[in-house]
């Protein structure tokens, strides 16, 4: 058995054409999205919320993956840890977008109108939590906590490249454990604040986990997509082998099923109890075009990935895995669309320029920032104690 030794440096040189195209996509998308907010605010704001939430999800999923690897002392993933670390670089930008969203509070959230609150006893009882100053303060708090944890974790990991100090790994393990607990609490509340309160009469106690499952599934799919792209572009050609892809495929397979499990758990309790204030959420989403979207959502996020990744060979097959990742990234957009849009699109789901532009901007910006961050430094955490184990992964 010949074992792979650690190369001194692997660098990514993204092609100028690709970076230019991503910039154009991001710029055009942002320009059209801004126009959308001015011309059709009732469609522009919810779509900006969707795109921002999608971006934050990708950044958080990166931090979450890194933290999970540290607390479980996992060796297999070290070779590509720079990828999820780079994904966290979208967090500051999505923070700026969130602050921008404060200007759309009155278009987005029914509870932000005092006249509506005054005439609604149910909403009045929630006004202690759902009011503008507290909402803004909470949002800033979540952002601050996430930025703090992700920045420090990434910094410590990068510092190891220079010092090779094993203690940095231990420090990151402790930090990761703290982050996981903090994330669980803050993200549950954040998903309720930003998304669930779009329909303030409705509530679901599983909403936080449901949003987490979608976030992590999409994060895994996007991370795997970047890993495969880097393998095809060259830098990861001899770093990532079939066993890495197999493990990533298994994680995607598992979290796709987890998403379906949670989706159905939310559905069946509401369906069984059949209480009007809860069930309106689903009756609205079962009618007409929204009903079709419900089925498409399940197809994209579970049925197709489940069937495609059931055998061993597909999980080890670059091409199949890449296609599943793209389907899941579209699927997550559908999932968020399905959650966010019904209050503002009362009749049928509409997808036009105002819907596509913010997402195009988000995707363009995400890949631009991630590739820029990856190109800045060595693609391998060369002095991580478990890198050699990861390079020789064999399952």
């Amino acid at each position: 058995m010949s074992s792979i030794s650690v190369p001194a440096r692997i660098a990514l040189r993204p092609s100028a054409v690709m970076m230019r195209n991503l910039s154009i996509l991001a710029f055009l998308g942002a320009a059209v999205a801004t126009a959308g907010i001015i011309i059709a605010p009732e469609r522009g704001w919810p779509n900006l919320l969707l795109a921002t939430y999608y971006l934050i999800g990708l950044g958080l999923a990166g931090a979450l993956f890194v933290a999970l690897q540290y607390v479980s002392n996992a060796g297999w993933s070290v070779a590509f840890r720079r990828v999820p670390e780079a994904m966290t670089t979208v967090l500051p930008l999505s923070g700026v977008l969130l602050v921008l969203l404060f200007f759309g509070i009155h278009t987005l959230y029914e509870w932000s109108h005092e006249a509506v609150m005054a005439n609604d006893p149910i909403l009045q009882s929630k006004s202690g939590w759902l009011n503008e100053p507290f909402f803004i303060a909470r949002t800033l708090f979540y952002l601050g906590v996430w930025l703090l944890f992700s920045t420090v974790m990434v910094k410590l990991s990068q510092r190891q490249d220079e010092t090779g100090d094993i203690d940095l790994t231990r420090r990151n393990s402790r930090l990761s454990a703290g982050f996981l607990v903090t994330f669980a609490l803050t993200f549950t509340l954040a998903s309720m604040d930003w998304i669930m309160s779009l329909e303030p009469h409705w509530f679901s106690t599983i909403f936080g986990i449901y949003n987490f499952s979608g976030l992590f599934l999409n994060g895994l799919a996007t991370m795997t997509l970047i890993v495969i792209v880097l393998k095809r572009m060259g830098p990861f050609q001899h770093v990532i082998n079939d066993s890495h892809l197999h493990d990533l495929g298994k994680l995607i397979f598992a979290f796709s099923t987890f998403w379906m499990y949670i989706w159905f758990s939310q559905y069946i309790l509401i369906w069984y109890a059949n209480i009007p204030e809860e069930v309106t959420y689903f009756t609205r989403r079962e009618a007409g075009g929204w009903g079709v979207l419900t089925i498409v959502n399940i197809l994209f996020n579970w049925v197709i990935p489940f069937v495609a990744l059931l055998p061993i060979w597909t999980k080890r097959h670059e091409g199949v895995l890449l296609r599943v990742c793209v389907i899941l990234m579209i699927g997550h957009w559908i999932d968020l669309f399905w959650m966010i849009m019904p209050p503002s699109m009362q009749k049928e789901p509409v997808v036009g320029l105002w819907e596509i532009a913010p997402m195009a901007a988000a995707i363009g910006l995400f890949f631009l920032l991630t590739f820029k961050s990856l190109a800045k430094r060595n693609l391998l955490p060369v002095r991580d104690p478990m890198l050699e184990e990861s390079l020789n992964l064999h399952t």
Binding site: I268, Y272, N274, P311, I312
Partner: protein, 174 residues
Amino acid sequence: MSRRLLVSTFDHENDLLAATNAAREHGYTIHDAYTPFAVHGLDKAMGMRSTRLAWATLILGISGAIAKLWFQIWTSATSWPVNVGGKPLKSVPAFVPVTFEVMVLFAGVGTVLLFLAMRKLWPGKKPAVIYEGVTNDRFVLVLVQDNASFNVDEVRLLFGRFHLVQLEERIERS
């Protein structure tokens, strides 16, 4: 009918893996390999084809799901119709959790039982340990001397490259 076996012992998993690869490449017939723990990649080195057990799991799972779904519809809609909260008798969402659990039960337990049966491992079976060390820290590869040109010295020379610890001929009577 008896077979002549050649039992070779190694100290390290990587030596066993390399020796197994070399044995297969040189055309020797591999009887089996024995290790104290699961060694990744050994199945490929031995040239084993992938197991058909996965197909059995799939079929078991699907049959478990169908059987349980049918049973629930039969009990609550056909044999003894039960009105639950005014819902239709054949309310599939209500049947999904139990269908799912029984699918997992059939697939999981069925696969384990089938595996034990295929490997002929049942309670009370006397363990046949080919070499005591494999229960502790040794790795063993067993070749079959299945033709006249089989030369033990050649094997000794080949495996010597992989830190061969011991080579022993055995005659297996069945």
